[in-house]
Assembly symmetry: C2
Homo-oligomer: 157 residues x 2
């Protein structure tokens, strides 16, 4: 199964129930026909910006980023990016992200929450988000990251 698919699947699983270790998650993915090693999972979770949380009672579990602690919104963040990023173009150290009309600010928020190193800032219009990256190399990495999340590796440009 392709990486983008796997990432989506992981986000789904995390939004459904709590997993306390990567091995546990790996097993669940396996049962779903998606074989994956702990090492890859470690990298995937990083891509998704997932965090590991621990409660006062002893448990620990993975949590999707964003307004995640708000029960109902769990799992939204990445799904938003996947669904609402139509295209990402580069211009030197700038990235222009196209979204459906009116969705720019939501996408910009989601992008900010990626905490991408080298992302200086972003401004949202109505259907466009302008992201300022530290340099062209970073911008390239950034675009790739977005493309990967959106499931369009090497997609529209």
């Amino acid at each position: 199964m392709s990486r983008p698919h796997r990432l989506t699947r992981i986000a789904q699983l995390l939004s459904e129930r709590r997993f306390s270790s990567q091995d546990e998650l790996a097993e669940a993915l396996g049962r779903g026909g998606t074989e994956v090693t702990q090492a890859t999972l470690s990298r995937d979770l990083r891509s998704l910006g997932v965090s590991k949380r621990s409660g006062p009672d002893g448990g620990t579990w993975y949590e999707l980023p964003g307004p995640a602690t708000e029960q109902l919104d769990r799992g939204r963040q990445m799904v938003d990016l996947k669904v609402f990023v139509n295209e990402a173009r580069l211009a030197q150290n700038l990235a222009i992200v196209k979204t459906p009309p009116g969705h720019a600010s939501a996408v910009a928020r989601a992008i900010d929450m990626l905490e991408f190193e080298g992302l200086v800032g972003s401004v949202a219009g109505d259907d466009t988000v302008l992201c300022v990256l530290a340099d062209t190399a970073t911008a390239k990495r950034f675009k790739r990251h977005l493309d990967a999340l959106a499931g369009r590796i090497g997609g529209a440009r």
Copy 2:
């Protein structure tokens, strides 16, 4: 230094800059005159509901709970509980939490975000929050947890 103080200090540090490991945090605390081992830190971070986050770029760091991803609000959650919980009483499996006038809903929100196992739910009035716990034993643990965070171990009842 007392545990409550230490917890507060940790929350402060985490809101100031990023720490990527418990040892790193321990060292910072040490420089501030608060000696602590990694083991204790592990337990403290759990008490605070802190989560470990990893970014797309390779870094990992600890993050306070709550609307934490909103830069400006970082570190607020626990501080709120510490400052605004006046008193916690028990009645069977119920906990009555007193707050300053008008602060009940804010405290209730903070309490919900603790994700305390066994906390069935909570309702807020104006200066009182009623928490429903699974059973009396859980209620007791819950009260202790609140007392500890508020810096009043075995405090008012």
